[in-house]
Assembly symmetry: C2
Homo-oligomer: 477 residues x 2
């Protein structure tokens, strides 16, 4: 990715300018979409010049950039641009785009184009795409593979998306421990090219049992006469296909790994993991937490049709509606009190609101800490204590402020005192449940982030109304 255009200070600016230009050209060309010929030309010279400009910009881009462009385009423009991309890179682009966008791209391709795009693809990448491809394409593609590759695709398909087996890569270079570095270097020279990200060579015995790894860094500085077994590392971070990908990614992050071996239950080397996949896992995981907290599924095409978005969001909206209804019934139970002191209606949302905000702060911290594996059950108790402390301090400070304001506003000491008490109690409730909800979710085997923001708000709303109106009814009426 040379920055051929010296006017851009960096890659990000160049990319932004390219996206802007492609968007503009694509929307101008959209009316002429159906007139674009097989060899990507148009009759009208001026419009054709625009088309050729678009193709020019597009073909300069790395497949990952093309993927980014496609994700940022509305559906119709996306199909137009996709049609103009370099066919040989179609497979790489499909691997890079988000699931939602991938579906729409695959829908726009015919069988022949799809089969061509899958050619020369690695088994693990192929397995990623297989579930999105039409059956006849899958059969066609599998037919063209040799026995070993087919077995690899099957293996990759047999694991869940969140297991190491689903993203492991079969492109491995392995050597024996009893040879010299000289021999290794000669052996490597026989390859046309080494697999991407090769930072270490796997050392195995006659039965492919992993003995250690030979980092390229060590190989390059070693005496050519040195035996591999004398310089290889025997302590290796290794994974099993059934391991959780998020845990594997955390290990990559912690130990600064580039690649790592995947072994079966007998320590037989079967594949490897590479850091580029792990970076994707880290980003997706953290983003998924953020989206899940707000009650969004983690895959929504930004420009999805309205109806798709409605479906993506309706579950948590429905949950919210139910909880809001419960909160409403809590208030309904105190209608008699509100009828007597209307000020209560105006003050109650303050109690609920501050509880919701504070609860969200707590739950966000806990969800993040859980993702980083910083919380054991013993810890939870300690965190609870701390959060309760924070809530007590905040409740007394901010409760007093609002108590004073309410007192002045409604000239009633009673209302002021009820306000202090209700705010403090609701903040305590928020703190307790801000810790307990994610811990309970985890215990139940759910994702602690899932809708946690919606749930904590539900608790602090209903709880806040109940506490405030309840105290008011007991002490003010």
């Amino acid at each position: 990715m040379e920055q051929n255009q010296p006017q851009f200070a960096n890659d990000a600016e160049r990319m932004a300018a390219d996206i802007e230009q492609i968007h503009k050209l694509a929307s101008q060309l959209l009316p002429f979409y159906s007139f674009i010929t097989e060899n990507n030309t148009l009759e009208e010279p001026l419009i054709n010049a625009q088309l050729q400009m678009l193709i020019g910009v597009l073909h300069e881009l790395h497949p990952a950039d093309v993927a980014l462009v496609l994700e940022s385009l509305p559906p119709k423009e996306r199909v137009l641009v996709w049609k103009l991309a370099i066919p040989e890179e179609d497979g790489d682009v499909l691997l890079e785009v988000s699931d939602a966008v991938r579906e729409s791209l695959i829908e726009s391709m015919d069988t022949q184009e799809l089969v061509a795009a899958m050619e020369d693809m690695d088994a693990d990448d192929l397995a990623d795409l297989v579930e999105d491809l039409p059956d006849n394409v899958v059969q066609e593609v599998l037919k063209d593979l040799d026995e070993e590759e087919r077995a690899q695709v099957q293996a990759a398909l047999s694991y869940e998306d969140d297991q190491v087996g689903a993203i492991m890569n079969f492109d491995i270079v392995s050597i024996r421990a009893d040879v010299t570095c000289e021999v290794v270097l000669r052996y490597l020279r026989r390859f046309d090219s080494l697999p991407d990200h090769t930072d270490k060579i796997f050392v195995v015995d006659d039965h492919d049992i992993l003995q250690g790894v030979l980092p390229i860094r060590k190989l390059l500085v070693a005496d050519p006469e040195d035996l591999v077994e004398n310089i290889m590392a025997r302590e290796v971070v290794k994974f099993r296909p059934s391991d959780d990908v998020v845990e594997a990614a955390t290990a990559f992050e912690r130990y600064d790994l580039i690649t790592a071996p995947v072994v079966d239950e007998n320590k037989k080397l079967i594949a490897r993991l590479t850091v580029d996949e792990m970076v994707d896992v880290i980003r997706e995981e953290t983003e998924a937490d953020m989206l899940n907290m707000a009650g969004l599924s983690d895959e929504e095409d930004l420009f999805a049709p309205v109806w798709d978005s409605v479906k993506n969001r309706w579950v948590w909206l429905a949950v919210n509606l139910v909880t809001a209804f419960v909160a409403s019934r809590v208030i309904g139970a105190f209608e008699h009190s509100i009828a007597q002191i209307v000020a209560l209606a105006a003050l109650m949302p303050i109690v609920a609101g501050i509880g919701g905000n504070s609860g969200n702060q707590t739950i966000t911290m806990i969800v993040r800490a859980m993702a980083n594996a910083q919380i054991s059950t013993a810890q939870a108790a300690r965190l609870l204590k701390k959060e309760v402390g924070v809530a007590l301090v905040n409740g007394l400070i901010w409760g007093s402020v609002m108590g004073l304001v309410s007192w002045l506003l409604y000239s009633s000491v009673g209302i002021g005192l009820v306000m202090v008490a209700a705010m403090t109690l609701n903040l305590l409730l928020a703190a307790v449940l801000g810790v307990l909800i994610p811990v309970a979710m985890e215990k139940l085997g759910c994702d602690p982030a899932l809708g946690s923001s919606v749930l904590i708000t539900a608790v602090t709303d209903s709880g806040g109304f109940l506490i405030f109106l309840g105290l008011a009814t007991v002490f003010l009426l």
Copy 2:
């Protein structure tokens, strides 16, 4: 990180067990903290056995694991464990822990320990720590460096934390273009060890101007007689020290990079970036978005003293209190209406709540898309249109459901109809501001995530009350 204990299925489980054990031992040993001698022993044999066990577990751990353990410990236990860690690894651990925890660790060390920990540290790492170190330690450490290293530390310090210059690494291997691969291999063999993550060697001319890069993968398969200039890659993703780190990390992610050169304005090679730093940037950036949305600063020690946490959170709680007060005054303005129809008090939180939930869904999506650089201004208009569409559909569907429920509950068609209208309008408000708030924040140069959840909730609360009570006052009274 060999999994020496075969009873653990994987690294994550082993780590969790280690953390649990260290926590237990540390809290048992805490009362004896002041009796631990210089050489880490205790008089009482039984307690000493526990101490030795703790030291044993601790010394088995990778510095990154020690960092994780320290982050998950409460302050007092943390200092105890820190005192027992391998002194030679102190520097590595300090680099790995979060800023908040790092401060507490440095506070517990004396000048001598700190100077020792900084020995043999790379310039870029040293620069990371300098701002947290006491002045006398910094002077001591700088004194021990040679001229070049001191210049590197100064260079790293002259950049902001969010600039490439602050995390670039000076440990580079460079060669000339006009030599053969054989010569390169011989040259590399003269090193004691190559820098971490070396996946490519930088090719420069006599004036250190970057000409290209020689990937190790290509070097290893090349004919020894090949000239570097014939096999090096000339198109290189490169960065400037003033570039934004998040943009650099995005480029690493997109182009699957392991290392990349950093050059000055004359393309002179000055340093490199490595993927391990970029992984940290990606995680921190996404997490910061999540924390910022909830109104938390991105650095809170999980076990910080209550008072520190209160300070970390009070700004957004105060903002929330002000906005809640505004919402309360909106209701106050309609006290007359509520006094006449008390049901309004019970129904109004439903309108506000669904708006808040839906607005949070929208704003979360937009903030995420902005972080991934998917949104240009032209896009914003299109997204707005889509979100308005989603809001209209949701408003009509869920508004009708709640309208029906309200009608049945209060036997009033009027209340039902006001409910439908108010919910639809508040969802539209949530959609419009869910897009506009982050776009405006970005335009103003603020982080779009910052407090966005608090802000959207403020709008949908006040707005929801105003719309619902306003409509009710006009049509029902």
